[in-house]
């Protein structure tokens, strides 16, 4: 049993938990950044920028994430290689699209063909992070956009009355004040993000679902030292517990953060805290 649980494959499974956590850790701030950019763009005074921001939010939110995942990574990959190709190989005389093939010069390949495997894997991982960030950035943008509009207007007016410029009002009042309004939406989004990670295997990252399927599938003694029937049920049960526990921990932490943030705020919850104290 102990041997079974420590085969190279199981090590792959354990590693993939780390991969998922790492992905979440990188994606969350990245998505927040995308969301912040999108929300700021959508509020912009410059019309094209505003259209871009609103279009980004509307389109990405309108499409199921799974549809994005199915072609977006490939598209990003091709796009990056094309950009590098244009920069690095200006005197390339062949077509980039040869029939069905996408061919760029060797040094434009990303990563290089002869790069070690871990580079390829981290590149794939980065593409996955970027895709996740773009998708969830749109949702975050929607939340932040709402939150920016929810900041009480009189606070902004007061700031203006103190002689702050538009920029200063934005950075010193609006942005710090909006978080308390954004947090419920963002924490919901965080929970949704956690639950989107089983789709990672679509992005070519060997995640926990990939390994659970691989390990759980029926094995015949010819190809393994540990033959067994269809055990996917048990592996998926493990995943289920992992996700439930992760959700629970997140909920507790987010609750604490919310309590900190509402402290001293002019909201119902803040009022309640003040009274309780």
């Amino acid at each position: 049993m102990a041997c079974y649980l420590t085969t190279g494959k199981h090590m792959g499974l354990y590693w993939s938990f780390g991969t998922v956590l790492l992905l979440l850790a990188i994606t969350a701030p990245a998505a927040l950044a995308f969301g912040f950019g999108g929300a700021s763009a959508a509020r912009s005074k410059i019309a094209p920028l505003r259209w871009f921001g609103k279009g980004y939010i509307a389109i990405v939110r309108g499409v199921p994430d799974i549809a994005f995942f199915l072609f977006f990574v490939l598209a990003l990959d091709i796009f990056f290689e094309w950009v590098r190709h244009e920069i690095k190989c200006p005197d390339w005389d062949q077509e980039i699209w040869q029939g069905n093939d996408f061919v760029v010069c060797d040094i434009a390949k990303l990563p290089m063909n002869n790069a070690p495997q871990w580079v390829h894997e981290s590149y794939g991982f980065l593409l996955a992070v970027l895709t996740f960030a773009i998708v969830f950035g749109a949702f975050a943008a929607n939340v932040l956009y709402g939150a920016m509009r929810a900041v009480p207007h009189n606070q902004l007016e007061t700031a203006e009355a103190y002689g702050m410029s538009r920029r200063q009002v934005y950075w010193r009042i609006l942005v710090p004040q909006m978080w308390v309004f954004a947090l419920p939406g963002l924490s919901n989004l965080w929970l949704v993000l956690i639950k989107a990670t089983p789709l990672l295997f679509l992005l070519g990252v060997e995640d926990i679902v990939y390994w659970a399927r691989e390990l759980g599938g029926a094995k015949t003694p010819r190809f393994t030292d540990y033959p067994h029937g269809d055990w996917r049920m048990w592996y998926f049960l493990g995943l289920l517990i992992f996700y439930l526990a992760f959700t629970r921990v997140s909920e507790i932490v987010l609750d604490r953060v919310m309590r900190k943030l509402t402290h001293g705020q002019a909201t119902l919850a803040g009022e309640a805290q003040r009274k309780a104290a």
């Binding site: 799974i66 929810a150 939406g185 998926f236 959700t247």
Partner: protein, 268 residues
Amino acid sequence: MSCWETIADYSLRSIGIGERALPREGFTLCQQFTLIGSGMIWNVYFGVLALSAGFFLATAVALGKASNNVVIRKASAWFIFLFRGSPLFIQFFFAYFLFLSLKPVSPIFDPFTSAWLGALIVLFLNTAAYSGEIFYGALQSVPRGDIEAADAYGMTGWTRFRRVTWPTMLRLAWPAYTNEAIFLFHATTLVYFSGFPAWQQKGDALYYANFFADKTFNPFIPYPILAFYFILLTLVIISLFGLINRHLNRHLPEETRARIKLKLNVIR
């Protein structure tokens, strides 16, 4: 073959009406649009039924979570936690396994392993849990004054709930509930993608998009078509829910209406 013929042959293919054999060559844009659109029938079917049935269970669960009875409260809270805390992907997987193992017990369970019923049940429970949490939150923020006013009118029990608490709860929950509806429709694409098998190549929009991506080896046409359909669907949902929202808020003066909408944008 003209595009009209394609539409005649394939527009209802996903529910088994029309040409049996899927296209084998050519794979024109028209074919892709028609078949993927045909698959949307299933996405709409799953979405609409799960949402409308889930609405009632969600109300019950929300009330249950707010109930004074410990057993009901705990049961509702656990139901919500279980379905909100786990990925839908894994829920589908377990449901399919469960229904498969129930199958030998009695022939009653036969249809449960097909997507039209089995997946519908999962989606129904899933949306009930998510909406239940939203409704619960809204229920907690129903203004005390409203309830007191109802009391003053001599309303009690069921009447008070039906005429005061419930409409207010809906009004407060609506923007977040709209989001949930959008998420649910998106989630319907997972049905044939995990667990539930496609019979006789009758599947949803993603199934056909996948089919074309597989046949043409080019993912850059079918998936954007799928995306296009879903953007349309999302717009329809947003406007329908917007209409209901207007109806729910019809008694409020114009200005307050706008303000309430703003504030509630942030619940989800």
